[in-house]
């Protein structure tokens, strides 16, 4: 169901609301958002959101950051939408705070590397290059897909029993309204 945003503020709140639905599948933490310079941004309310894992598996932490702008919605007269400009989503081991996986897209701060990519902290000594420094190409990665990865592949305990439906709904919305890379 479409929720028209008639003001920039309404568009910002709508965007944060749907990302919160995804985050709440993992944790009681929330997104905090506001304006910075001419842009808007979202940061997770704690930079070390604890992700409890099943059994005796070591816990992880999640940190999310997004930069975006509010633009007129060309499809609907008098309405506004968000346009994502950058993201960093990072998973760390809780015990030592070492980075495990980090999804990056930051074309404004690294114009020579404008494409989305992934850093993975895996030792591969015979490779001759540090994988954690390598830029593993990805498509555009939605926050929802990171949440799904945590729940379906990393044995993070779900906070919502119906997380599959919640993530499916919010990600379908992401795909429908993304201006690029919505299939990620």
């Amino acid at each position: 169901m479409r929720e028209p945003a008639k003001t920039p503020s309404a568009a910002r709140k709508r965007y944060a609301h749907f990302l919160q639905l995804a985050l709440s599948c993992l944790t009681t933490a929330i997104w905090t958002f506001g304006e910075i310079d001419e842009y808007s941004a979202l940061v997770t309310s704690d930079d070390r959101i604890r992700l409890k894992r099943e059994g005796d598996l070591p816990n992880l932490t999640l940190e999310g950051t997004q930069l975006f702008e509010i633009v007129p919605d060309d499809r609907f007269d008098g309405e506004y939408r968000t346009h994502t400009l950058a993201y960093v989503y990072t998973l760390r081991y809780e015990a030592d705070d070492d980075e495990l996986i980090s999804w990056h897209w930051h074309p404004l701060t690294t114009p020579d590397r404008p494409y989305p990519h992934l850093h993975v902290a895996i030792d591969a000594p015979d490779l001759g290059t540090a994988l954690s420094k390598a830029h593993i190409p990805t498509g555009r990665v939605s926050f929802e897909s990171v949440v799904r990865f945590c729940l379906s592949d990393l044995a993070v305990e779900a906070r919502e029993n119906d997380w599959i439906d919640i993530i499916g709904d919010t990600e379908a919305r992401f795909r429908k309204f993304s201006s690029w890379g919505g299939n990620a």
């Binding site: 905090t32 910075i36 400009l85 960093v88």
Partner: protein
């Protein structure tokens, strides 16, 4: 579904103060120090703990 948590909106000053506080805690730097370190190449804008601040602050004057 659990009671719906709602995201928190901060006004411009409070949001900037939050970022400054986190930057200080994470890297021990003020915003001007961070920007100077970035511009002089002392910090890699993609390195852990730096990338998330770089995307938010790197254009700040």
């Amino acid at each position: 579904m659990s009671a719906l948590a709602e995201p928190e909106e901060l006004d411009r000053d409070d949001f900037r103060a939050l970022l400054e506080k986190r930057l200080q805690a994470a890297l021990g730097m003020s915003v001007p120090e961070f920007l100077e370190a970035l511009s002089e190449g002392q910090l890699d804008p993609e390195s852990p703990r730096v990338a998330q601040f770089a995307i938010l602050l790197a254009r700040t004057s």
